[in-house]
């Protein structure tokens, strides 16, 4: 700790931090641009100048840049000193010599860090009379607008995009005041985290293109705390709505989970909520029906049904799944997962509960000092995790920096050391991954081979761990190297998941973690969907069992909750199942092949219009709240289900949460994920609308002159209103980040314990599964994969764009889908006589043609494997362990 003097006041602060960060942590206002809490100091913008005095006698002092100055005991500085104020104001004047002052037509206006900082310095009048430089703007793809004239050259975009996120297609060109930040030519930004530029840019150079399509000012957006539904990580988001349309998603800081950043799927996937495919009205056998008729039909159907089974969903909340389970009974509740996936998820949740290895938050992932990824391309299966792993490999350079007395926040200086030293990262994957470029060593193989490598590593670490038979010398050497690296680490991390659809990969990951001596070993699994883990904790029977129950005549009616079964099983199986069932009720938000066959189709609210609890891959329960009121008759799927429950004891969502918590020991804590509906602040509900919200009474004036009442919300602590206060509410119910003088998302400075640290009152979410006990070694070793001539193993691997069901329905994400193709090894392609772009026909062993598809030769893919993108509707659902055959499609065949 250090005691420092700022403008005559004495403060006790942490040492080793830079002065800017320290001042902001103290709640003081000091303007900045190039510094960013996650990116460290750059010293470029010169905006955070303060006066530093040598001692109490020194009355003049000298200007220093706070971001470049380490805090030291007995330091004396002044923020308010005239010389410093003048400098900061003059610096803004300089920045403004080329800024277009186009705030009224700029989409950043109203949440612009440059506006905030300009006002903060007091600069108003500009003396510059010259011409401003102008730039050409680029088309950067479907996500991001580019308006370079607004650029103040803080270099944050590059430092985030290239240095932090590993991108390489955004650069700075030119010199002096003609520096240009863009691509070398027009084209979509390639990095999966490009959307963060919207928030990283302090002004309106990079703005959200999807937001532009239906733009509203920040003060005109209705917001509520929410959780991303597009993967299993549970990143916290702040969606904004106006006039019944979801307009955008921005990051909502969670110091344990997503920090300052989201992936592009999470940021731009929201538009499915506004899709023309939304189910907006109940239908009975295809005919629209009133809510009353629909409910009566539902009641009648339940009354006359011989037996009803319910199929839950990993993209639906704990509460909705629990309500369905209560409605049909435990013995009739099926998880609605592909059978293998269900096995994998059960194994993972058991390991997390009883395996004795800590499941890390993303913050903890970033602290890992050696990482082994087993069978997962995390950039595609859990994108934000990949960004955290990129930070973890930097830890060795921070250690070196310390020995060289380089401050950890001196960003460029520490990165310079990274060239020589990275923390070990080993990747065992099917084929090339985005993280390979920062990996220490890479292994490529089939899921079996990846598992075997894992088992071999475990055995190297602990002779008690079983050893795979016939391991090759090169694999043995690699296993020994990896084991050695992991053993030396204080916080080794094993990351695996369900992408390979392989139980042994997961078991091998556990063996490695168990074999590691460090008590701070971390084990994380990427799972497919936003509530996969939660659903697995609730538990239920498999989809195959559901199919059997109907085909055996043990039940004749089915209720499907937010689940397109055609994504889970083969068309033939699902067709048969749905036809055999006498009655089919489907509750969902978007039309799909399953909803098309419903006898009773009920319109479900999306995450943006409903409340619920999700469990992320870490085992953290988090609640999302409705951002706006669903247009009637759309309502939350939990509401459709509770409305037909016979004994109607669960009147409200909180009742359902409490009942769910009581029913499952692992879920006891979910009630603490967020305050309940009874929570008030200063005697009132919490407003979703900012105090400056405009146009509420005018929007329907062409239809009705009198003001219609606002919808009432009895399910959550929020009101659809501008009235009330959110000044000091807990983060779980903080709808928007806003502070006096801080209109941009940078206002989060005012809500953190320490800059870049945890939120005051704790980060959002409650961990459900704390590691305890230990489990025996897994001993089932797969044999090495041996490709057979003429036969291929088909694997479907996730892709950030296209594999996730809901985000794929967002037009911007749809523009970024990967090419429709199958990946094939070069050797295999040569044998077949095909090259990239040629068509092949994939056939089952019984020579039944399944698909004709272009080939893409992938040099890193091992022979005997085929890879397709998971979750794409063009691909039939098939058992990935059945081998297939391939034929080249000739020109004649095409005709």
């Amino acid at each position: 700790m250090a005691r420092i003097d700022i403008d005559g006041y004495s403060y006790e602060v942490r040492d080793g931090i830079n002065l800017l960060s320290t001042c902001l942590s103290l709640g003081l206002n000091l303007p900045y641009f190039c510094w960013h809490p996650a990116l460290g100091s750059a010293g470029a913008c010169r905006q955070c100048a303060v006066i530093q005095y040598k001692d109490a006698e020194d009355k003049h002092g000298r200007l220093v840049m706070a971001c470049m100055t380490p805090v030291a005991d007995a330091m004396r500085i002044s923020i308010a000193g005239e010389q410093a104020q003048q400098f900061r104001s003059d610096n803004i004047e300089l920045l403004m010599t080329n800024h277009p002052h186009d705030c009224p037509v700029c989409e950043e206006g109203g949440e612009c860090h440059l506006q905030d900082m300009t006002v903060m310095t007091g600069h108003t009048f500009r003396r510059f009379r010259g011409k401003k430089r102008t730039h050409h703007n680029q088309n950067l793809g479907p996500f991001i607008n580019h308006e370079m004239n607004r650029c103040i050259a803080c270099y944050r975009c590059l430092r985030f995009y290239n240095d932090y996120a590993g991108g390489d297609d955004l650069q700075v060109f030119g010199i002096h005041n003609n520096v240009y930040f863009g691509r070398f030519e027009d084209g979509a930004l390639d990095n999966e985290f490009s959307g963060n530029l919207v928030e990283v840019c302090p002004t309106g150079v990079f703005t959200d293109k999807t937001f532009s399509a239906h733009y509203a000012r920040k003060w005109d957006l209705q917001t509520a705390p929410s959780i991303c539904v597009h993967c299993s990580l549970g990143c916290n988001i702040a969606p904004g709505e106006r006039y019944g349309e979801l307009r955008r998603v921005i990051n909502r800081y969670n110091g344990d989970v997503n920090g300052y950043f989201l992936c592009d799927r999470g940021r731009f996937g929201y538009d499915f909520v506004n899709s023309p495919k939304r189910i907006r009205i109940p239908r009975i056998n295809g005919q629209t029906a009133t809510v009353e008729t629909a409910k009566n039909h539902f009641h009648g159907l339940l009354a006359k049904a011989q037996a009803v089974i319910g199929i839950g969903s990993p993209r639906s909340s704990l509460e909705a799944n629990f309500a369905l389970r209560a409605l049909v009974g435990e013995e009739n509740f099926f998880l609605g997962l592909e059978d293998t996936e269900q096995t994998l998820l059960n194994t993972i949740s058991n390991l997390m509960r009883d395996g004795g290895i800590h499941s890390p938050s993303l913050r903890e992932v970033e602290q890992a000092d050696a990482v082994l990824i087993l069978g997962e391309d995390v950039t595609h299966s859990a994108p934000r995790l990949a960004l955290s792993l990129r930070q973890a490999v930097r830890n060795a350079s921070f250690d070196l920096a310390q020995t060289l007395h380089i401050q950890p926040w001196q960003d460029a200086a520490v990165r310079q050391l990274q060239g020589q030293l990275r923390s070990p990262l080993f990747i065992a994957s099917i084929c090339a991954t985005r993280l390979d470029e920062v990996a220490t060593d890479i292994y490529r193989g089939s899921p079996e081979d990846i598992a075997r490598l894992g088992f071999a590593i475990a055995h190297c670490l602990d002779q008690a761990a079983p050893e795979p038979a016939d391991i090759s010398p090169s694999e043995q050497t690699l296993a020994a190297t990896i084991a050695d690296s992991l053993k030396q680490a204080k916080h080794p991390l094993i990351a695996s998941g369900t992408s390979c659809s392989s139980l042994t990969v997961i078991q091998a990951a556990y063996n490695v973690a168990k074999a590691l001596p460090s008590i701070d070993t971390l084990l994380t699994f990427a799972v497919p969907e936003c509530n996969s883990l939660g659903l697995s904790i609730i538990g239920g029977k498999t989809l195959q069992q559901a199919f059997n129950k109907i085909s055996n005549g043990l039940a004749n009616s089915v209720i499907i909750l937010e689940n397109d079964l055609y994504r889970r099983a083969s068309s033939q199986q699902v067709d048969l199942f749905l036809k055999t069932a006498a009655h089919l009720v489907v509750i969902d938000s978007l039309e799909n092949k399953t909803t098309a066959q419903a006898e009773l189709l009920l319109p479900a609210a999306t995450f943006a219009e409903s409340v619920g609890t999700l469990v992320n891959n870490e085992g953290r329960a988090q609640r999302y709240f409705p951002v706006y009121s669903a247009t009637e008759p759309i309502c939350g799927s939990w509401q459709w289900l509770t409305s037909v429950l016979e004994y109607h004891q669960w009147r409200h969502h909180d009742d359902l949460t409490a009942a769910c918590a009581a029913a499952f020991p692992d879920l006891t804590a979910i009630v603490q994920a967020a305050p309940d509906a009874a929570y008030t602040f200063k005697g009132g509900k919490l407003p979703r609308q900012p105090h400056r919200y405009s146009g509420r009474t005018a929007i329907h004036a062409d239809i009705k002159v009198s003001e219609s009442g606002q919808p009432q919300d009895v399910e959550t602590p929020f009101a659809f209103s501008m009235e009330g206060s959110i000044a000091q509410v807990p983060p779980a119910v903080l709808p928007v980040i806003w502070a006096p003088g801080w209109n941009s998302n940078q206002a989060v400075n005012k809500f953190q314990e320490q800059i870049g640290g945890h939120l005051r009152d704790g980060d959002v979410g409650i961990r459900l599964l704390e590691a305890s006990g230990t489990l025996p070694w897994f001993t089932d070793m797969p044999a090495a994969f041996k490709p057979e001539p003429g036969l291929w193993r088909m694997l479907s691997l996730p892709h950030i764009f296209g594999s996730e069901e809901l985000s794929s329905q967002s037009p911007s994400v749809a523009e970024r889908l990967p090419a429709f193709c199958v990946l094939l090894n070069l050797q295999d392609a040569t044998i077949l006589g095909v090259d990239t772009g040629d068509l092949v026909e994939i056939c089952s062993l019984a020579r039944i043609s399944m698909l004709k598809i272009p080939v893409q030769v992938e040099l890193t893919l091992p022979p005997g494997l085929l890879v397709i993108t998971a979750g794409r509707s063009e691909f039939p659902q098939m058992n990935t362990f059945d081998p297939v055959t391939l034929n080249k499609v000739t020109q004649e065949d095409r005709l």
């Binding site: 100091s41 010293g43 470029a44 913008c45 010169r46 905006q47 100048a49 000298r62 200007l63 220093v64 470049m68 400098f87 003059d90 610096n91 300089l94 920045l95 010599t97 080329n98 003396r127 510059f128 009379r129 010259g130 103040i152 050259a153 270099y155 700075v172 030119g174 010199i175 002096h176 005041n177 003609n178 520096v179 060289l404 007395h405 380089i406 001196q410 460029a412 200086a413 310079q416 050391l417 990274q418 060239g419 020589q420």
Partner: protein
């Protein structure tokens, strides 16, 4: 022991031909190196150069031996680098060019000794791209040195190895700044780096690196060969050794001379440069290149020592004097300089990137007759805003030196444009 008072230029010939290896050796070349690697420990070489009092000739004047001693010596297995800064681009400065073109072995010997002193096994010459002649002569000289065993594995049969690479720059003034130079050498944008860490701790590829100016390195063989006492005897004032001093502008004989440190400026301008051309009076001069403050005729008796010039209100810089005569407009001269600096700003920090172009606009307005009297206050404000400590590196503070002193000494010239009574003056 011929020409002992002019060690740096003893091989320079009036016909501008260059000294071959044989020429170089015939005047005692590579004797200093032999002494260093066969008789002295690296630390002793460092101490010798430190004791000699050699100060960096690139302009900053830091003690060279002291700089070398800052390279961490705890881990000898650690890679270190030596870089010769031959990116001479300061307007009005052409001293390194002569050394590079006409006596390349002198630099190479200096580099080998310096590399030995810091135990670097790889060294680079970062050469201004336009110095084509220097490039070809250096390339040739490196080959010669290699073939004679001065360079490569086992330098002079010792256990010391050194390879020297010649890198020709793509041409940016900022590459003269040592950390920008290092970035450029790594293939990155030539933006300066944060200091600390200094290059001696984390430089090229993050390894300890010493960057020395060409002229600085050329002093080293002689210090090693003739010793500290001899070297110290060369200075006339406080600072030691000799230095290349130049004069350009309307003097009778513009040129470059090796003179003792502490030579009075009057002697350089009036004797060596032959005084002003007929019909021109001395109005002022920049004593050490474009990024130094103007001095006036009243300062002619100031001697060329770092502290003496600083006391007079300027800097000795590169020792290249640019003379302003009475028929050249100082405002236009300053505009010319500021256009150069504005063009060469790397674009990293706000005051430099935005302040220099604004300075140019203001000067153009003034010269174009659109100036306002308050513009002089704006310019004065900019000289403070872009002053030392306020910017990321020394480029902008250097650029402000001629402007701030011109505003002080030649304010009436600025005002004359503004009040409408534009005197027609010859442009620079």
């Amino acid at each position: 022991m011929e020409k002992m008072d002019k060690p740096l230029t003893k091989n320079i010939r009036p016909d501008r031909a260059f000294a071959t290896l044989a020429d170089y050796e015939s005047t005692g070349g590579y004797q200093g190196l032999r002494k260093a690697v066969t008789e002295l420990q690296p630390k002793e070489v460092q101490q010798c150069v430190k004791d000699a009092g050699l100060r960096g000739r690139g302009g900053a004047g830091f003690n060279t031996g002291l700089k070398w001693s800052l390279v961490p010596s705890d881990d000898l297995s650690q890679t270190r680098y030596l870089i010769a800064n031959a990116d001479e681009m300061e307007p009005g400065t052409f001293k390194d060019r002569m050394l590079l073109e006409q006596d390349p072995h002198q630099l190479i010997e200096g580099m080998i000794i310096a590399a030995y002193a810091i135990q670097a096994n790889v060294a680079y010459i970062f050469l201004r791209g336009e110095y084509h002649l220097a490039a070809s002569r250096l390339k040739n000289a490196l080959k010669e040195a290699q073939s004679k065993g001065y360079l490569g594995e086992h330098v002079l049969d010792s256990s010391f190895n050194l390879e020297i690479h010649l890198h020709t720059s793509a041409g940016r003034y900022i590459c003269g700044e040592e950390t920008a130079l290092i970035n450029a050498l790594e293939g990155k944008r030539a933006n300066p780096r944060t200091k600390p860490p200094f290059a001696v701790v984390s430089g090229l590829w993050g390894k300890p690196t010493v960057v020395n100016n060409v002229e600085t390195l050329c002093n080293i063989p002689h210090i090693l060969q003739h010793g500290v006492e001899w070297y110290q005897s060369l200075g006339r004032g406080v600072d030691k050794g000799t230095k290349l001093f130049g004069a350009s502008g309307r003097v009778k004989h513009p040129g470059l001379w090796e003179l003792p440190m502490g030579t009075p400026i009057r002697e350089i301008i009036e004797e060596h440069a032959g005084g002003m051309q007929d019909g021109f009076e001395l109005r002022g001069f920049l004593p050490g290149g474009a990024s130094t403050d103007f001095l006036l005729p009243e300062h002619l008796d100031v001697v060329m020592d770092y502290e003496a010039v600083a006391k007079a209100g300027s800097r000795m810089g590169t020792g290249a004097i640019i003379v302003l005569d009475d028929l050249t407009c100082p405002v236009q001269m300053v505009l010319n300089l500021e256009q150069f600096f504005a063009q060469e700003s790397c674009g990293w920090c706000t005051p430099c990137r935005e302040g220099l172009p604004w300075t140019v606009t203001l000067l153009q307005d003034i010269i174009g007759g659109h100036g306002r009297i308050e513009d002089l206050d704006t310019l004065a404000g900019l000289t403070r805003m872009l002053g030392p400590g306020n910017t990321f590196c020394a480029l902008a503070p250097g650029a402000m030196e001629p402007l701030q002193s011109a505003l002080k000494y030649f304010r009436e010239d600025f005002e004359r444009y503004i009040v409408g009574n534009n005197a027609i003056m010859e442009t620079v």
